[in-house]
Symmetry: C2
Subunit: 470 residues, 2 copies
C-alpha cells in the first residue's frame, strides 16, 4: 500500500474519503440496527449471531485482517486486527459491543425498535447509539485509512462482544481464548455520551456494578388475606421494609455497613475541574423528567453520577399484578437491585455487605436470599497520561471544541477486565448523547455524530501515532 508523503496529507485523504462515504455509513448502520441482537432474550439468540456475522462481513470489507469469531459459553465475540504499522508504532485496541438492550414497541416506542428509521437527522432504533452506531465509527475510520490514507499509522486491534448488555458474563472467555493477541498500549472505547451538542468528552473513569436478585420467602403458599390477614409477615411488606432500610430518605446516603469503606474520595482539584463542566440542576430535571432531584447530600448531581456509588431497585415484583384485584398474601417477593460502584469498591464485597444487611433487617418469619447476577469492576485512569493529550487534540480538531474530562456513571465491565489483563490505558471517547435514550424506548443516534465520530476516530489514530513518534 503506498504511503502518503506526509502524515498531514494522509489525514487529508482520509477525511476526504470519509466525507464521500456518508450515505453508505448511514445505510450500513440501518442494516446493523435492523438485526434485533437482544442478548438478554433467548429467543433472539440467532439474531445476536446474525449481528456478529454481519459485523465480520463489515470488518472484512473494511480491510481488517484475521477477522475471527470467538465462541464463548454465551454469545460470540469478534476479533480483528491490522498490524502493519511497524514495531515502533503504538498498538491500539478498540472495544465495542454489538448486542442491545431489549425493546418492544409496546414499551412506549413511536418508531419501530428494529427498523432504523431516519427522521430529524437521527437514526431511530434499539442499539443505534448503544453501541452499534459508535462502534461502527471505528470500522469506518480504519477503512478510510486503509483505502485512502496509505495504510493505518498504528497497529490496530478490535474486539467486539455480544453480551455487554447482560453484564459481559463471558468476556473473560474471549480474553482467555485470544491470549496475547489483544495486548495493546491503549484501549479506546466509544460507548458513552458527549458532553453537549458540539462538546466532546473523554471519560477517565467508569462506575462498576454489583447486580443481585433478592428473594423473600414467607408462608408456604399464597394465602387468602381475609382468612389469614393479620397472622404472618407479608413478604411484599417485608421486602418493602427491608429495602427502606438501605438508603436514608433524607440524606440519600446508603445505610449499608461498610458500603463506603473502599470508595476513593476525589481530590479537590478533580471536583473543581468537574464543576466547570457540571450540568445545572435544571438540565438534570429536564433530562430525567422528574419534578425534583434527589441523591447523596453534599454532592452535585454530576458528582453523584460520576464520583459516587449508588443503590437502586431496578425491579420489584410480588403477589397479584394482573388486571383487577385479588386479596392475596403472596408467598414470595422479589427485587432486582444494583449498586453502581466507584474505585476501589469490589462488586463481590458489596454484594456480601448488602446480603448481610438484608438478612440482619429481615423480620422473623421470612427467609432472604441474595444472589449475585451480574458484576463489573470500576475503572479509573490518569487523565494526565500523554495518550489522553493526543486524544484530546484529535477531538479539538474534529469538534472545534475542547473535550470535557469526565467521570462516567455507567459501567462497562469488560473495560475493567481489559485494564487488568491486557495492561492497557483505558480512554473512553463517546459519540452518543444523553437524550438518545439508551436503555429506554425511542433510542436514537445523531447522524452528524456518526460522521464526526468516524472523523474523530480517524484523527485519534493519527494523533496517537504522532504522540508515539514524539
Amino acid at each position: 500500500m503506498p504511503q502518503a508523503s506526509t502524515p498531514q496529507a494522509a489525514l487529508s485523504a482520509v477525511l476526504e474519503h470519509i466525507g464521500k462515504e456518508q450515505d453508505r455509513y448511514v445505510s450500513d448502520l440501518q442494516e446493523f440496527v435492523r438485526i434485533p441482537s437482544v442478548s438478554a432474550d433467548p429467543k433472539h439468540k440467532e439474531d445476536v449471531r446474525a449481528a456478529a456475522e454481519w459485523l465480520m462481513g463489515r470488518l472484512e470489507q473494511a480491510g481488517m485482517e484475521n477477522v475471527t469469531l470467538v465462541e464463548t459459553s454465551g454469545h460470540p465475540g469478534i476479533v480483528a486486527d491490522h498490524l502493519h504499522a511497524g514495531p515502533d508504532a503504538p498498538t491500539l485496541l478498540v472495544y465495542g459491543h454489538y448486542d442491545t438492550q431489549p425493546a418492544e414497541k409496546s414499551d412506549g416506542w413511536v418508531h419501530e425498535p428494529f427498523e432504523g428509521a431516519l427522521e430529524g437527522g437521527r437514526i431511530w432504533g434499539r442499539g443505534s447509539t448503544d453501541d452499534k452506531g459508535q462502534l461502527i465509527c471505528h470500522i469506518n475510520a480504519a477503512e478510510a485509512w486503509l483505502k485512502s490514507g496509505g495504510g493505518l499509522p498504528i497497529n490496530l486491534k478490535m474486539v467486539f462482544e455480544g453480551e455487554e448488555e447482560v453484564g459481559s458474563f463471558h468476556f473473560a472467555e474471549i480474553l482467555d481464548k485470544t491470549g496475547d493477541r489483544l495486548r495493546a498500549d491503549l484501549l479506546i472505547v466509544s460507548d458513552s455520551p458527549m458532553r453537549g451538542e458540539d462538546k466532546p468528552a473523554i471519560t477517565y473513569s467508569l462506575r462498576g456494578l454489583s447486580y443481585f436478585f433478592v428473594d423473600v420467602d414467607g408462608p408456604g403458599s399464597d394465602l387468602h388475606s381475609g382468612i389469614f390477614g393479620g397472622t404472618v409477615w407479608n413478604p411484599a411488606e417485608a421486602l418493602a421494609h427491608m429495602l427502606a432500610t438501605c438508603k436514608d430518605p433524607k440524606s440519600g446516603k446508603v445505610l449499608i455497613d461498610g458500603f463506603y469503606d473502599d470508595v476513593v474520595e476525589p481530590t479537590a482539584e478533580e471536583r473543581e475541574r468537574l464543576k466547570e463542566v457540571s450540568d445545572p440542576d435544571a438540565v438534570f430535571l429536564k433530562n430525567t423528567g422528574a419534578s425534583a432531584l434527589f441523591g447523596e447530600e453534599g454532592w452535585t448531581p454530576t458528582e453523584r453520577t460520576g464520583l459516587r456509588p449508588t443503590f437502586e431497585v431496578n425491579g420489584i415484583r410480588a403477589g397479584y399484578i394482573g388486571e383487577g384485584s385479588k386479596t392475596v398474601i403472596p408467598r414470595t417477593a422479589h427485587a432486582k437491585v444494583s449498586c453502581r460502584l466507584v474505585a476501589d469498591q469490589d462488586p463481590h464485597r458489596v454484594k456480601e455487605l448488602v446480603a448481610t444487611h438484608l438478612k440482619k433487617v429481615a423480620p422473623e418469619g421470612v427467609r432472604v436470599s441474595v444472589e449475585l447476577h451480574n458484576l463489573g469492576h470500576p475503572v479509573r485512569a490518569d487523565p494526565d497520561h500523554p495518550m489522553f493529550v493526543a486524544v484530546e487534540k484529535a477531538l479539538v480538531d474534529t469538534f472545534d471544541n475542547r473535550p470535557a474530562l469526565l467521570p462516567e456513571g455507567g459501567s462497562i465491565p469488560a473495560v475493567a477486565d481489559m485494564q487488568k489483563r491486557l495492561g492497557v490505558v483505558p480512554i473512553l471517547v463517546g459519540f452518543g448523547h444523553k437524550d438518545e435514550n439508551m436503555h429506554a424506548p425511542e433510542e436514537s443516534f445523531r447522524l452528524k455524530n456518526l460522521f464526526r465520530g468516524t472523523e474523530a476516530a480517524a484523527r485519534i489514530y493519527g494523533e496517537i501515532a504522532a504522540q508515539k513518534r514524539g
Copy 2:
C-alpha cells in the same frame, strides 16, 4: 299441600327425604361445579350465565316460586321465593353466590378444576366449597320441606349473585331492582368454614374491605441507572419507603393516622368466649406454612383475623421483572393494597386515610395517586339475638356438637348491603372447612358436609319457625 300432624313429624319426614336423595345431591353438585363460572374473567362471561340458568332450573325443580333472573350491568342475580307459611311465620332470606374464583390447572391443581371429581369423600373443583356446595344445601333443604314436610314452615326468599368473587360490584342493582321483594327478618349465609371436622360455627361478624391501587410516578421515562443513578428518587424505592411507614414492624400496628378511630373494641366477654375456640399458634403455623407468626401486638392470631383490621400489600410491581437483569430506574411503581376492616370502619374513609398518609410520606419528586378499586362494609350482629339461639339448636341437633360463635376474617360485601337495606339480622352458618382451599388450587368440599349442610338448613328452617311461634 297437606300439613304434617306435628312439626316433629314433619321434620322427620324431611330428614328421611334428605337421607334418600344423597346420590342426586352429589350428581347435582358435580353438574354445577362443571360450569366454569369465573366472574373475574371476561372469557367466562357465558359460563357465568350458564351457571345462573342451571341454578334457575334447580330452583324450579325444587319447587321454589317466582324464579327470576335479575339483569345487572355485570353478571345477573337470581331471585326466588316461597311465601306460603302465613303472616305470622318468620321470613328468611338466604344468600349465596354461584360465581367462582379463577382456576387454571397449571396453578398447581392435581384434579381438573372444573370436572367435579369425587375422591376421598370429597368433591374436587373450583367453587365446590365456595360457594356452590354450600348454597345448594339450602335448595336441597327447601325441596325436602316442600316435597316431604308438608310445605315450608317459614316464608323463604333466596338471592344468589354472580359477582361475589369480584367484589359484588353490581349487587346493589339487584337490591334496587327487587325493591321490597327481598325484605326479611333474618338473613342466612352459608359461605364460611366450620370450626373443625365435626364442630359447626356461627359467624356473627365479617370483616369489610377497602382495596385500592397505589401508583407512584417519578421521572418522565425509564432511566439508565448508570447515567442517572444518584440524581432522582427511584419510584420503586419511594414506594418501598412509603409502604414501610404504614405498619410498625415491631408491634404490627397500622401507623396510619385515624385508622383505628372507628374500630369497635370487643368486650372482655367476647374475647373470653373466643379464647375457648381459638386455634393455638401451632395450627396457624401449620395452616400458613410460615416459620413464625406476626401481627398486631396484644391480640392472639384468632383475634387478629376476626376482631382486628389489617393493612396488606396484595401485589407490587415496578421496573424490570423479566428474566435476567436490566439496569433501569423505573418511571413508575404500583401496589395493590387492601385493608380488612372491622365494625364500624368505613371503606371510603379508610381509603382516604391511607391516601392522605401516603401523600404525606411521599418524597419530593414523586407523585402518588390512590384509587379505590373494591370495597365492602364490615358486618356485625348480636349473637344474643333469639334467632341465633334457634340456629344454634339446629346445629347442635345436626352435628351433635355446640357451634362455635366466631368473628370471621373474610369479607362478603353483599351481606353489609343487605343488613343496611333490608333490615335483616345476618347469621352466617357455613359448611366449608379451612383446608378446602377456597381461593387456592385444589379446592374441595366434603360430601358429608353436603349432606349435613342440607340437614342443618332444613333444621334451621324448622327452628326459626318454632322460635317465632314462641
